[in-house]
Amino acid sequence: MSVFLAKRFLTFIATLMGATVLTFMALEILPGDPAAVILGIDAPESAVQALRDKLGLDRPILERYFAWLGDIVSLRFGVSFTYSTPVIELVQARLAITIPLAIMAMLLSAVVAFVLGVYAASRHNKAGDVTVMGISQLGISVPNFWLALLLILLFAVNLRWFSAGGFPGWDNGVWPAFKALLLPAVALATVQGAILARFTRSAVLETMREDYVRTARAKGLTRRATLWRHVLRNAMIPVITIMGLQFANLLAGTIIVEEVFALPGLGRLILQAISNRDVVVVRDVVLMLAAFVVFINFVVDILYAVIDPRLKPHDV
């Protein structure tokens, strides 16, 4: 187990390092002088030179990479050019929206997927199964930002149950804030839930064919009891892994859905930074998000091994 943990940890660190190289390089391939790009074409040469000095662009690339890496490791993130605020402060304010939104969407999609997937598997090849799989096929095909627009149309424009966007802040009570995040969470969860439901269904079907399930039935357990006591516990293992892998998509989805609902979260921060050419913010925030995703996958890997003792380390 400890060898497995050490190996996983090394992969985790290597992936993180890879992420830093990628995000750093993405800025380096910027055509032309980054300082000139940030300031725009009309900027006077003296201002461009000043920014170049400030960003240390005249130093060799490796030196700049390691200097930046040193800053990141000691959690000294950059300073936004447009906001004149440290990136870390910009991020902290917006996490209060993005994190609850992602968690709500994750929980919602897990519940939907669990109910639909188990139901479909229990009605394998019957009308219920075909209907649920049809719905999930549709759910996978719908772009989440379009679904977000449709939800706004129905619940904000026509029924007027929700506001069309914006965020009142957590200070004005939990309920209004929760309500503002509900439609975006539904838009995100539908697509995720549809994908997860298919995995849940096939995982349950797969487990139902195992010998120990037949044994459980043979010793007189009812179908329902077998399902709850033996099938679901084991079927959840691959489903959890997929949930971890899907988390990256979910986080990327929040960027778009936040934009639709005008939620001032991390996604909007990145998009605004892109249009302001605030490269420092783009680079550091993308790296934080990537690190977060890599970390979640690392945790899922470890959980996987802990939950399922049958897995020998070299199989994982």
């Binding site: 990628l22 930002f145 996958n297």
Partner: protein
């Protein structure tokens, strides 16, 4: 294959395949027809005829610039097809080559290529696509390239797995005994035997590429005006959702129908090509 119905007969008997094939055919047909003919000019503005309701003249009405929505949707199919074809080609060209190389060489080459693909898998693809487009500049080509880059590891992994299974077969041993080199065996024996798996994956990646491009265009990072694009149409109509809600409905339906068609086609193809998998699922 005695006693088994022919490939096409099996295809035609498969519901997903027929449904998916029809929808995908509709998409391709629309794109081709729109190259030569659309009811109205999808780009030319006609400000006197803004927000017209659906009629025989304008089947789906007109948008905020008085352009015929049906025509823009038709022309938008070209954009989606282009994105799918180009990005899947990029992904396949590099991914399949890397996968075949890894499988033929084994050892550290395989290890390196597979670890690199694992890394790309773990990294949130659309994030890096957004960043790439943000630095290279917004535009259709950069978006397509960014999407293509992220399907490379998908094809690399798939190819390597499928090719390894072929390399273990006896006819490969026979080919080696006959003195054929690794490159020749790869091209003459391995590649033809994994094409079907690749075609199925290409269909799925095509659908993902359409979704990803729509998302990037919706964020203003993909296709730029006046190129007709479903994702950008949705972005442009967002502020008009209170005036004419239908504007936000049609482009999304076009995206969903295309993606649904390709996904069904992919599922159907997989079942038809490998019936063993179909029974297992």
């Amino acid at each position: 294959m005695e006693g088994q119905p022919s490939f096409w007969r099996r295809c035609l008997g498969h519901r997903s395949f027929v449904a998916g094939g029809s929808l995908t055919g509709l998409l391709v047909l629309t794109a081709i027809v729109s190259l030569f003919w659309t009811p109205w000019d999808p780009i030319k503005q006609n400000l006197r005829d803004r927000f017209a309701s659906p009629s025989w003249e304008h089947l789906l009405g007109t948008d905020q610039f008085g352009r015929d929505i049906f025509s823009i949707i038709m022309a938008g199919a070209q954009n989606s097809i282009t994105v799918g074809v180009v990005s899947v080609s990029i992904g396949m060209a590099f991914g399949v080559a890397l996968g075949l190389w890894a499988s033929a060489k084994r050892g550290w080459v395989e290890e390196l290529i597979m670890r690199a693909s694992d890394f790309m898998y773990a990294f949130p693809a659309i994030l890096l696509a957004i960043m790439l487009v943000a630095t290279l500049g917004q535009g259709a080509i950069n978006a397509i390239v960014a999407i293509g880059i992220f399907s490379i590891p998908v094809f690399a992994r798939l190819t390597r797995g499928a090719a390894n299974a072929i390399w273990a077969r006896e006819f490969i041993l026979a080919a080696r005994a006959a003195g054929k080199g690794k490159l020749r065996i790869t091209i003459e024996h391995v590649l033809p035997n994994i094409v079907s798996v690749l075609v199925v994956q290409a269909t799925i990646q095509f659908a993902l590429a359409i979704l990803a491009e729509a998302a990037l265009s919706f964020l203003g990072l993909g296709a730029q005006p006046p190129t007709p694009s479903w994702g950008r149409m949705l972005d442009e109509t967002r502020s008009m959702i209170f005036i004419n809600p239908w504007l936000a409905v049609y482009p999304g339906m076009a995206i969903a129908i295309s993606v649904l068609g390709l996904n069904l086609l992919g599922d159907g193809l997989r079942d038809v090509i490998d019936p063993r998998l179909a029974r297992k699922r």
